[in-house]
């Protein structure tokens, strides 16, 4: 495997990271809640696809709307019933709450599915593109991820409700004064963010073997992406995701899988130390 | 340092936050041992100036000199150790600690001395009876008094008071005025900002006027009251 191939793999991986981080970015931006359970929502999306695939032979790609819809509902319920209650409290309350939820979901998932590694082997093999071997599943995942991320971006930019969400993110009190039901906006945003995480999970289920702990493994990557690209900046997060993806695959190529694992943490820690507002850090 | 030299000199100080110029080229000298006023419409930079003096924020340019010592880049606790203390516009007490604990925690001597001093100061502001009450549960007026007493624990030479008369009834205001005068008699310097014009004009011996981050006038209360620019700043917009 040449370095170029490794880099391309990294870019493709970055697409999925971008989708995963986009959901978290929205939640953090709109309601200032650092959702530590985001990884578990992704994990549940992965298991949804897995269950549909192994029990009902549903095409994993077609299961994405299902897993997204499920997590949309779960996300909205979580927000309305629990997160909303601590929105007015200092940030640490919601942090602890989502930390607890994350642990709880992990425990439940371990109970239901055990810690065994699972996978969804649907797509395999590689395609020859310009002399390079590109993994088919990664290409498809990348395409889907970018499409969904792009669609979300357009939704936020152009649609009425998207603008409502952005207004709430920028200034909740002013938005409320303009007649926006900010409670509903928060609920829907959390739902959409969770749905995006679930979609990312479905894609991940096709790309890697996984068990309930995958959420915990992926969460730091979302944070790394967001601090790299700047809180609230969609384009920044996309670029951050690509940087992370490539850094990981290159690190893995030159040293070991473990060093690759550490890239997200190193980025996260370094960025928080030196440039907490990220590379872009604008409000979008 | 000579007896009559200013205790604090603000030299061409500016502070920007992003694109906003909170303060632009302000130069003033706070005379020693007096009550000095700082007035101006909302947003004129008064609190920013307080933040700069106490080290909570750094100046973008310019210098702050306290008793011939450049304090522009010192951290807040060092500045307090040198002798500057302040209150905040919205009182910043330690809510889950009692009034007495609020006092004790900032004391610098041994336990006994701290306790004695805290008791005396609570007495000074008539808060002895509430000493075991949690700061969060005190009334608005009591909280302001506690914050005021607390800063006296460290025996500062320059005291910055941010709107000490806001929301305070006339009786309490008079008592507060008496206490301020007592402090001046003890040789302290007070820099006060407030919107209570009548009180300000009566207690301050000199007044600085800020508007949009710039110093537009300074002088005695009489001079200020008849200054056209000051009128314009408050009413002319």
């Amino acid at each position: 495997m040449t370095l170029v191939q490794v880099i391309i793999n990294g870019v493709l991986l970055g697409g999925v990271y971008a989708l995963f981080a986009a959901g978290l970015n929205m939640i953090v931006g709109v309601m200032r809640v650092i959702n530590l359970a985001h990884g578990e929502l992704m994990m549940l999306g992965a298991y949804t696809t897995f269950m549909l695939f192994s029990l009902a032979h549903v095409n994993p790609l077609l299961s994405i709307p299902a897993s997204a819809a499920l997590m949309l509902i779960l996300g909205m319920a979580l927000q309305r019933l629990m997160v909303e209650r601590v929105v007015r409290q200092p940030l640490l309350s919601s942090l602890l709450l989502t930390f607890g939820l994350s642990t709880l979901f992990l425990g439940v998932a371990l109970n239901v599915w055990t810690g065994d590694q699972r996978s969804v082997s649907y797509l395999s093999g590689s395609l020859s593109v310009g002399g390079l071997q590109i993994s088919v599943v990664r290409m498809v995942a990348f395409a889907v991820a970018v499409a969904l991320t792009g669609a979300t971006f357009l939704f936020l930019r152009c649609s009425t409700f998207g603008k409502t969400i952005r207004a709430t993110a920028q200034h909740p009190d002013a938005a409320q004064a303009c007649g926006i039901d900010v409670t509903r906006v928060r609920m829907v945003t959390f739902g959409i963010g969770s749905a995006l995480a679930a979609a990312a999970g479905s894609l991940v289920s096709m790309m890697f073997t996984f068990n309930p702990e995958i959420g915990q493994a992926f969460l730091p990557k979302a944070f790394a992406v967001i601090v790299l690209g700047g809180l609230g900046s969609f384009v920044g997060a996309l670029l951050g995701a690509l940087v992370l993806g490539v850094s990981e695959t290159v690190a893995g190529y030159f040293s070991s899988g473990q060093r690759a694992e550490s890239v997200a943490f190193v980025i996260l820690i370094v960025m928080l130390m030196i440039r907490p507002a990220g590379l872009f850090g604008t409000n979008e | 340092m000579q007896v009559n030299s200013p205790i604090l000199r603000v030299e061409n100080v500016s502070r920007q936050f992003g694109g906003v110029h909170a303060l632009a080229g302000v130069t003033l000298a706070v005379p020693n041992g007096q009550i000095v006023g700082l007035i101006g419409p909302n947003g004129s930079g008064k609190t920013t100036l307080f933040n700069l003096i106490t080290g909570v924020v750094r100046p973008s340019s310019g210098r702050l000199v306290f008793r011939d010592r450049d304090i522009s880049r010192l951290p807040p606790h060092r500045i307090n150790l040198l002798g500057i203390a302040r209150t905040f516009q919205l009182t910043r007490l330690f809510p889950q600690m009692t009034a007495l604990e609020n006092m004790l925690v900032v004391g610098r001597e041994d336990d006994r001395a701290n306790h004695a001093r805290a008791t005396d100061l609570l007495e000074f502001v008539d808060l002895q009876s509430a000493r075991n009450e949690y700061a969060a549960n005190l009334s608005y007026g009591q909280q302001k008094l506690l914050e005021f007493a607390r800063l006296l624990m460290v025996d500062p030479s320059l005291i910055l008071l941010d709107e000490p008369f806001a929301g305070v009834n006339p009786t309490m205001a008079r008592r507060l005025q008496e206490r301020l005068e007592t402090l001046v008699e003890q040789g302290k310097t007070l820099l006060v900002t407030d919107h209570e014009m009548k009180t300000m004009m009566s207690i301050c011996s000199e007044i600085f006027v800020l508007d949009y981050g710039q110093l537009i006038a300074q002088g005695t209360p009489a001079t200020i009251q008849s200054d056209a620019r000051v009128m314009a700043a408050y009413f002319g917009r």
Binding site: L92, L104, P220, I269 | G18, V106, N132, V154
Partner: protein
């Protein structure tokens, strides 16, 4: 726009000057005067009560392993360990309000320092444990100097990141630590000495916590939690106090990790750096009551026994119990059991409890 993560005040913070208290609690219970008097009565009785309890605990520590079956001794060891984790976490997170999700890192680092010293026969095991604690505390100093500049949630997440990074470093450093394959320690016939060690550690930790909480030092730490900027403008060198508390909070899990390694006889990065140790510290302290002395002790005992019972039914009970508990505490009883008792007037609000 989200407030930037650094602890230095932002424009919005200063211009609005509304302090953000770390524990997220609402108004403090209003105590009528006779209760304030009762509080003072408690304050004179409590130190004597503590001394008695201390003596009883020491007796129990000595006697228990001699009379109880091995299973219960091991369980009691875990209880003591959890109490140590909670009490030490409380020193930084409960008192200063800097909530950390990386406590497991200290446990893991101490574990490896101790295990390496013991495995290579470099020193007596109990000395190895102390060195492990001191070593962890020393490492915590520069860590804290860097991370304690961050505000609330960012500090929490960064500490988690550092804990994971520590795990990865230990795991990669094959030559020293044996990497992912783990480390074996010499076989131990009689494990009672571990129980004594953990017992002494718990007693010391609780005593230190008591001394801090009831002294001026405790007030200084608490005022950091209450309003750090105001404290600074009143001459409190909050950086020093934060870092000091942080290093102290690292000592105890460091020692505990070393004793744990000796007890189990085998450690690997995933086990000793596992996030479950952080979760134990957080959940038990939050349940019992952050910022109190009894809180982490109560939480440690109750939760360890509860999850042990649940584990008998279900292998993955830990996460469900601890996770669910954190959720319940945040939503319905912030401040934990101690706060609940205080609001109902059963106990006075005092730093002695």
């Amino acid at each position: 726009m989200i407030d930037p993560p650094h602890a230095a005040p932002s424009v919005t913070e200063e211009l609005s000057a509304v302090p953000e208290s770390g524990s997220g609690s609402t108004a403090v219970a209003r105590l009528p005067d006779n209760r304030a008097l009762r509080a003072q009565q408690w304050n004179t009785l409590l130190p004597k009560t503590y001394v008695i309890l201390l003596a009883l605990t020491v007796i129990w520590i000595v006697v228990f392993p001699q009379v109880a079956p091995l299973y219960y001794v091991s369980l009691a060891l875990v209880v003591l360990l959890t109490v140590v984790l909670g009490v030490s976490w409380n020193i930084i997170s409960g008192y200063t309000g800097y909530i950390s999700f990386g406590h497991a890192g200290f446990f893991g680092i101490g574990s490896y320092i101790g295990a390496l010293l013991i495995a290579h026969n470099l020193t007596a095991w109990w000395l190895a444990a102390i060195v492990a604690g001191v070593g962890t505390a020393l490492l915590a100093l520069p860590m804290g100097a860097l991370t304690l500049r961050l505000r609330g949630p960012y500090f929490a997440i960064t500490m988690f990141g550092l804990s994971e990074l520590a795990r990865i470093i230990v795991s990669s450093w094959d030559s020293l630590t044996g990497g992912g394959a783990g480390l074996y320690l010499p076989f131990l016939e009689d494990r009672t000495s571990n129980f004594y060690a953990m017992g002494i550690l718990a007693v010391v930790a609780i005593s230190v916590a008591y001394l801090i909480a009831t002294s001026g030092l405790g007030l200084k730490l608490m005022c950091i939690r209450e309003d750090e900027v105001a404290a600074q403008t009143l001459g409190v060198n909050t950086t020093w106090y934060k870092i000091g508390a942080f290093a102290l909070s690292a000592f105890f899990p460091g020692v505990a990790g070393a004793v744990y390694a000796r007890q189990i006889g085998y450690i690997d990065p995933i086990t000793v750096f596992g996030v479950i140790w952080s979760i134990r510290a957080v959940a038990t302290t939050m349940f019992g009551g952050q910022g109190t002395i009894i809180g982490p002790i109560l939480g440690g005992i109750v939760l360890t026994l509860a999850s042990e019972w649940a584990w008998a039914e279900n292998a993955f009970a830990y996460q469900i119990v601890f996770g669910g508990l954190i959720v319940l505490v945040v939503l319905f009883m912030p401040g934990g059991v101690m706060r609940l008792l205080e609001l109902r007037g059963w106990i006075p609000r005092t730093r002695q409890l």
